[in-house]
Symmetry: C2
Subunit: 388 residues, 2 copies
């Protein structure tokens, strides 16, 4: 396989874009990514999206978006792995370029959720869970995560307030990200008194839905000498990429508190890059709910089982901490347009590695890790990116 590099990134704000359709959002992110690289075209388009069939009455998104942005006649398709769809589209595009089949590809994650009624969105998100054995019993997606969090608190003796730093850190970082959905700071008091959604998950444990799109342009690394970086918009190297699945329904797993697919995909990335957790400078984590940050940190080797809340309480997840997470606000506060989030993470890592993360810049950021989760841990993709 050829090594693959990212040479352009783009994103829209995560918001209620009532004036922009699904294809408009995707186009905006793609145009920015192309302009960022100084390019005007690409050979393939890989769309990450989860809900367009159920919420937007639109499939065949690959061809739809390729046509809309003027990339006519190119290869295009949609990839779906629930909330990890963006990361899966990114990996699929990367493999197509690595294989030599394509000499360039755009991965775009896009989701348009706020035109639909809340009950429709809740039902659509439940398609990430097992329709026959979970959703059909009345379990919403947040309820599944609530069961996990409750069990975690019981097993390891943590109180709900101990999870506050995850939300506080995400919101603090979103404040300085112009693309974020909830750019305001919160306090421990705000967290504790926030409205309950599904006990013990309250509103500030849960990421907000939203409309948005993020895109990256991928090329073979050996072609980079042809594309000089302009204005410090340097290329970024993909040094690890892996995807894994787990037993699907929560009740079938021997240990519902261990994200096997996170551990497996992270391990593969560490092996590919010859790096270890301590070599990672920051971690864009799938904090759809606070508990998912906890389980990811543990599965990826940043904390012992049952001890990730300690990491957060000690400040180790902040921008200046040992392993900064959600450096631009994460799913929690940048927002979670589900099929797009996996690509937002990649865009944000590129911003950090280029030294373009503004007030949220990590000092001497060299290696960033992204992890995206589909379902309650059923599909997990991990990526490692390195400064050129």
């Amino acid at each position: 396989m050829r090594e693959v590099a990212i040479i352009g990134v783009g994103q829209t704000p995560v918001a209620e874009h009532w004036d922009k359709s699904l294809r408009d959002l995707a186009a905006e992110a793609i145009y920015v990514a192309l302009a960022d690289a100084g390019w005007s075209t690409t050979e393939g388009l890989f769309v990450g999206n989860m809900l367009s069939g159920s919420l937007n009455h639109q499939e065949n998104l690959g061809a739809l978006i390729a046509d809309w942005v003027g990339l006519r006649h190119i290869e295009a398709l949609k990839v779906e792995t629930a909330c990890a769809s963006g990361a899966a589209a990114f990996r699929t595009g990367m493999i197509a370029v690595a294989s030599g089949e394509l000499d360039s590809a755009i991965a775009v994650g896009v989701e348009k959720m706020t035109d639909s009624k809340p009950a429709e969105v809740t039902a659509a998100l439940a398609t990430a869970a097992d329709a026959d054995w979970e959703s059909a019993q009345g379990l919403t997606f947040v309820a599944l995560n609530a069961l996990i969090m409750k069990r975690y608190m019981y097993e390891f003796g943590w109180n709900h307030a101990d999870f506050a730093p995850f939300s506080i850190n995400a919101h603090a970082n979103a404040l300085h990200n112009p693309y974020s959905r909830l750019p305001f700071e919160i306090t421990v008091e705000d967290y504790i008194t926030s409205r309950m959604v599904a006990d013990p998950i309250n509103l500030l444990d849960a990421s907000p839905i939203g409309d948005g799109a993020a895109a990256v342009l991928l090329v073979p690394a050996d072609s980079l000498d042809r594309y000089a970086a302009r204005d410090g918009r340097t290329a970024v190297r993909i040094i690890g990429s892996a995807s894994a699945t787990d037993i699907f329904a929560l009740h079938d797993r021997k240990n519902p508190l261990w994200l096997a697919a996170a551990a497996n995909s992270a391990k593969r990335c560490y092996a590919q890059s010859a790096l270890e957790p301590q070599d990672i400078d920051f971690f864009e984590i799938h904090d759809a709910f606070s508990i998912m940050s906890v389980l990811s940190l543990e599965a990826c080797g940043f904390a012992e089982c049952g001890q990730a809340p300690r990491l957060a309480l000690d400040g180790d997840i902040c921008l200046t901490g040992r392993i900064p997470i959600t450096t631009m606000g994460g799913l929690k506060a940048r927002g979670h347009p589900v099929g797009a989030s996996g690509v937002y993470q990649i865009v944000e890592i590129v911003q950090q590695l280029r030294g373009k993360a503004g007030k949220n810049q990590i000092d001497a950021a060299r290696v960033g890790m992204a992890q995206s989760i589909g379902g309650s841990g059923a599909t997990i993709l991990t990526h490692l990116l390195q400064r050129w």
Copy 2:
């Protein structure tokens, strides 16, 4: 890229499988494909499916099916390109193996449509068209194809009865395919007097929906010496693979009677294999509607523009003709479980190339072509397979 071979195939009958869920159908096809190759596992699962989100309340199909069939922890995802989803999943799996990222992959196409009400299925299928500029105006998917057929008849002076041979040929071939949905023969009289669906498309111009799954096992060709063919179940070589898109909405195309994405993807396959249309022994065509067979034959170089009905009237599309099409019944009579059809085509080509097509066997079949169409020509994938 490494050359890739198919070493196992499996399929379920296309039917109203009221006793089998989506995952059951996929599992059945996967188990048969693995057993066909004498294998028990694989490294990746690529699911082609269009409608699970809108009709089955289930996404994250990759992980769901991987778990269900016991292929736990492997990489898995769903690929969607409307009715061409199966072909796109096949190509995505092929590229993953060709790249070296995976040493084996299963592509499975699956669709479960008959549990839903007809109006729900019609609305779901319309997501293949442009939601904002076509479906929102009341155009169903069959209505779009009716507009194309009407224009074709007007431009080139054909009568409706001239299209009869496409349907008659498909039904004749389905008769001897134990997996087919409509295994009965029809006459010209049946065709002419069949009930109208959307003028000029009648019931015998249109393919039936259905439930079904088809699967293939892909491995690098250079590993084939390790897997001896048993009982004549030889490997099949993929010698051409290409995907292309077109201007999305029908009304935006300069010529709605020219499938540019069919022509572009076929041309690329011809170039990859150094073959020409006259070297192709048979053609598994996307005959969702009779008019699509016509346009595919013309775009791929088997007939001049406006002349494909002549090919059919002359008997050239029959099993003993110049370019046999839909040799196992096609979408028209084997049935069209939409996201699965692209993989059914591949399975049927393998049957022919192995000499295992029973009463439908093409003499000395050496090279077969498959073409799968998503939307009214918006996404088209073409594949060329060759006997080992």
